[in-house]
């Protein structure tokens, strides 16, 4: 009997423990793998657009980033010949509306509002986070190194090296303090 009570106690404890975490804990996590750039020249070469602009607003959306390829090269077109329907690739993004002030590369015109997406945000009551990334802020001004796409908003080249915030004196600083090429890029922006 004593042994039975003990088992019951363990069972109650386990149920209580499970009750405290009845669903997977915390936010949904994204862990993207980006290439890092050796220097400012590498970074600039990889960008389709380099702009300075101010974030005027932001909204969270779920976006399907699938962009089926027409290539017949099996390396470039991963699903070609796979015999299955392409999978939905929807992610939760915070989409920033950025008013362009200056363009260093690309065809964005000063005054134009462009959209830039960052993984994560709160969507339908659930939180999504990009591991290791810093969210850009409304009303702040940034220099951004971007990759543009036909079907969805542009993306930062990576989470650490592609964004620089401008202060009230017009000086830029890396958004991510771990940015290994930050000082070099800041010198060029200045």
């Amino acid at each position: 009997m004593k042994r039975g009570v003990s088992r019951f106690g363990v069972l109650v404890g386990l149920v209580a423990l499970l009750g405290g975490c009845a669903a997977p804990q915390g936010a949904h996590e994204y862990h993207p793998l980006y290439p890092e750039y050796m220097d400012a020249e590498d970074l600039a070469a990889a960008a389709t657009d380099i702009v300075v602009g101010t974030v005027e607003s932001a909204e969270v959306r779920r976006i399907d980033i699938s962009a089926p390829s027409d290539s017949t090269d099996p390396v470039e077109n991963a699903s070609d010949g796979a015999g299955e329907e392409a999978h939905d690739a929807s992610y939760v993004y915070t989409v920033l509306q950025l008013r362009v002030e200056e363009t260093y590369k690309g065809s964005r015109a000063p005054g134009e509002v462009i959209e830039v997406k960052q993984l994560g945000g709160t969507f339908e009551g659930e939180e999504y986070l990009e591991e290791g990334a810093t969210a850009l802020s409304i009303d702040s001004t940034y220099a951004l190194f971007l990759m543009s796409f036909d079907n969805v908003p542009a993306s930062l080249l990576n989470a650490s090296q592609a964004s620089y915030i401008r202060d009230a004196n017009g000086a830029f600083a890396p958004v991510d303090p771990r940015n290994s090429i930050g000082p070099e890029v800041v010198r060029l922006l200045s």
Binding site: Y34, E36, P74, S79, A82, D150
Partner: protein
């Protein structure tokens, strides 16, 4: 924590990409300590998935954990578009690296470890080339976690 023994399914890719993704599995399998061995197998009904596709993003690969901490599920994607666009090393090596890196997350490893040692979990850099298999440092980290 996710066990070092689990199954997964590779889905929606052609044979070329199937081989890249399987490379990630074989690169970790057989990592053994005195108490465990990494054993990743294939099961067509597994909730853990690896795929590759063409995506409008700058990342090479992406790992999303799900499920319970002690029975972790995950979805791994490799991005053929961004991998094709990069000139860092060869496409073959970039793709293999991505598969091995993302499975490192499934084995409880974090991104960009703070070390001077070579690691498959560091972001690939134009200054350092691309690893295609986990290093001794990576395997030691996995052994220490289980």
């Amino acid at each position: 924590m996710q066990s070092a023994t689990f199954n997964l399914r590779i889905t929606g890719v052609n044979p070329t990409w199937d081989a890249y993704l399987k490379h990630g599995v074989t690169s970790w399998n057989g990592t053994c300590s005195s108490t465990m061995c990494v054993t990743i197998s294939f099961n067509s009904s597994s909730p853990r998935t690896m795929t590759a596709g063409n995506y409008s993003e700058t990342w090479w690969g992406e790992y999303q954990p799900g499920g319970w901490p002690w029975d972790r599920t995950f979805a791994i994607r490799a991005n053929a578009t961004s991998l094709s666009a990069s000139t860092l090393s060869t496409m073959d090596n970039r793709s293999k690296m991505t598969a091995a890196h993302e499975l490192g997350h499934a084995l409880s490893l974090a991104d960009n470890p703070s070390t001077t040692s070579a690691s498959i979990m560091k972001y690939p850099s134009t200054s350092a080339g691309v690893l295609t298999v986990p290093t001794t440092f990576d395997k030691t980290n996995v052994k220490n976690k289980y």
